[in-house]
């Protein structure tokens, strides 16, 4: 009987779009937050983004979040577009930005050389993790990893888990050497760029994460059926938000509280999160990143 109830609960969990991982459910109603008073000297919050879309698109997507944070923190929030994941981390270290949205692998890399304070992990498409795909065009003759020999291949970013680290590991696990396998490789900067390059025939195949196909349909009305998945890589945690370690703790805590208060299940949360294709946020748990760390260690060792 107990087992049947457990199964029913499991079933329910699997069927809903609610986040399922490491999230205490039901979420306790946040106590009425005491009025936040910005510490002296805290005059603005600088949020760094990686250019996974054009500056205009990024600004449009983050507009509601920026406005909301600004209202809650009672200081202006400024968007800073970094060149890439590592550049965002470097800016954080130099104190040029306060808050960074970064990938799991970028976080694992940055952790090694800089002090930062992780706040929350994003939940999207109902999950705090996402798998990675190796993708070709639907009409491509390439059907297996071995077929990639001599192809032009596109990665996302050297600091991308699904877009670089795990595809490398997969190839190596299959006994394929990326250096000799491909005719050429390049970093496309973001997931959408990888898909577009495949779609347009600029590259034969590429690595991206599972969310990029629905994202492309949303942004460019390009149907996922234009692509074919030829391999999958393990799920990795989604992007997380970090602040620099020397940011006043009161601000970091206030930011965490604000992020955790956002949910796509209520109207206000949806207004802020929908442009970002995010459902909500999960309190940071470093154990979630152990898999990425292990994969990184394995790839670095080779």
């Amino acid at each position: 009987m107990k087992a049947a109830i457990a199964a029913a609960v499991l079933l329910l969990a699997a069927c809903t779009t609610e986040p399922t991982q490491h999230l205490p459910a039901p979420r306790p109603a946040p106590p009425p937050a005491p009025q936040f008073v910005p510490p002296a000297g805290f005059t603005k919050l600088r949020l760094s983004l990686v250019p996974y879309a054009s500056a205009e698109e990024l600004k449009a997507a983050h507009g509601p979040l920026v406005a909301w944070l600004s209202m809650k923190l009672k200081v202006p929030v400024e968007l800073v577009i970094s060149e890439n994941y590592d550049d965002a981390a470097a800016k954080l270290q130099k104190g040029e930005v306060d808050l960074v949205e970064m990938s799991s692998y970028a976080y694992v890399r940055a952790q090694k050389w800089l002090k930062l304070r992780p706040l929350v992990t994003a939940i999207a498409d109902g999950s705090a993790t996402a798998g990675g795909y190796i993708i070709v065009r639907q009409d491509s003759p390439l059907r297996r990893l071995e077929d990639l020999k001599g192809s032009a291949f596109g990665f996302v970013d050297p600091a991308s888990a699904a877009g670089y680290l795990y595809p490398l590991k997969l190839l190596k696990d299959r006994g394929l050497d990326p250096k000799s396998l491909f005719a050429s490789t390049q970093f496309m900067g973001n997931h959408e760029n990888v898909l577009m390059a495949i779609y347009e025939g600029a590259i034969d195949a590429g690595a991206t994460y599972e969310g990029s196909l629905p994202a492309l349909r949303r942004s460019k009305k390009i149907d996922p059926l234009n692509f074919r998945i030829i391999a999958k890589t393990p799920r990795t945690p989604r992007d997380l938000y970090c602040v620099r370690a020397d940011l006043p703790p009161a601000i970091a805590e206030q930011l965490t509280t604000l992020f955790l208060g956002l949910s796509s299940r209520d109207r206000h949360g949806r207004e802020v999160l929908a442009p970002l294709s995010v459902n909500g946020f999960l309190p940071f748990d470093d154990r979630l990143y152990d898999g990425v760390r292990a994969a990184a260690a394995e790839v670095d060792a080779q």
Binding site: A7, L10, A14, S127, G131, P224
Partner: protein, 408 residues
Amino acid sequence: MVSLAFLAAEQQRRDEQFDMRRRNTQVLEAIGVTAAVSVAQNDIAALDTLVAHVFERTRGGELEKLTVVDGDGRVLADDAPERFGEIETDAFARSAIAADEPVWKREGNKLRIGVPAKSGLRWATVLAQYSLDQVNAQVERTRAQWLGFALALYAVVAMILYLGIERLVARPLKALQVAVRKMGEGSLNTRAPPLRGLEMRELSEMMNKMAATLQAERDNLEKSVADRTRELQEANARLERLAVTDGLTGVYNHRRFQEGLAAELLRSTRTGRPVSVLMADVDLFKKVNDAMGHPAGDELLRRLAQVLNSALRGTDLLARYGGEEFAALLPETSKTVAGQVAERMRAAVEAELNVDGRWTQKITISVGVATYPDDGKTGEQALIAADEALYVAKHQGRNRVVISRAVA
């Protein structure tokens, strides 16, 4: 009981496996519906999320593998993402893809279940593999519990039986045995202790009754044996007395005298000491008889025997030799001493029998004395010598002692 434990465990194994299969089939059918929606929408990301999260939530449980395959057996999603695109070729996967209903199969300690992923149409097939280890471990625990229970029950029953037999049978039997052994050894006054239990009590009562009867009978027997023995001894004594005494006078008879003489002569031969014999006769006894009648004669003889006996020494033997004649055997007595004894006899008769005037004449005796071996080489010769001396005494005037001089 032990086989019951195994049967119970086996029944539980069947129940648990049936329950596990039914429950998981239901879960997989529900997952199948969700998977079908994702496949129908070509939302592979959603399918991946579904499979990954279902698997992650049940990790550490029974579920070991979870796969969604298309109609060709191609893996659309798997708990191990790298398996994407592989073709499931095994017989079970094939049968699951072909079947329109959930199918299942047990392979060793694995349970495989396949259910169609339907949402309006059949879009895919969900394949799952479960470990039966937990079920089996539970069954083993149940079996162990049953076995333990059975063993404990055995122990308790054995203990009760042992104590019961010890108290109700062994101990009473032992008490009975001790009592019977004592009875067997002759202590018929032994009684078995009162025992518990109807049969035991009856047995001990019977035993006691038997012992009491035996004891009574033995007491009777002993008493009558003692009585008979005493009677016999008395009869024997009487017979013996009768055989060696004279009925009238109470002194020894002729036969006893001869035996005594023979014995003394043998002894004399060994020791070399002399044996003397006296022959005494009432003087003129016929006259007493004639004048006073036989009863008076008999009375005289009885009186005479008393007087003669009292005149003799303790070791001497007096016998009625026949008629009014008495003989005395004097062991280890010389002729001189024998003469003195004879004289004492004669004087006693003369003194004691004539004081009250009872008799019509004076009562005297004549005595002849002879000594072996001086007066004869045999007892008979000695007696003849004594008789001759008596004869001489009669002739010399009666009321006297004459000592044989055959050899002297």
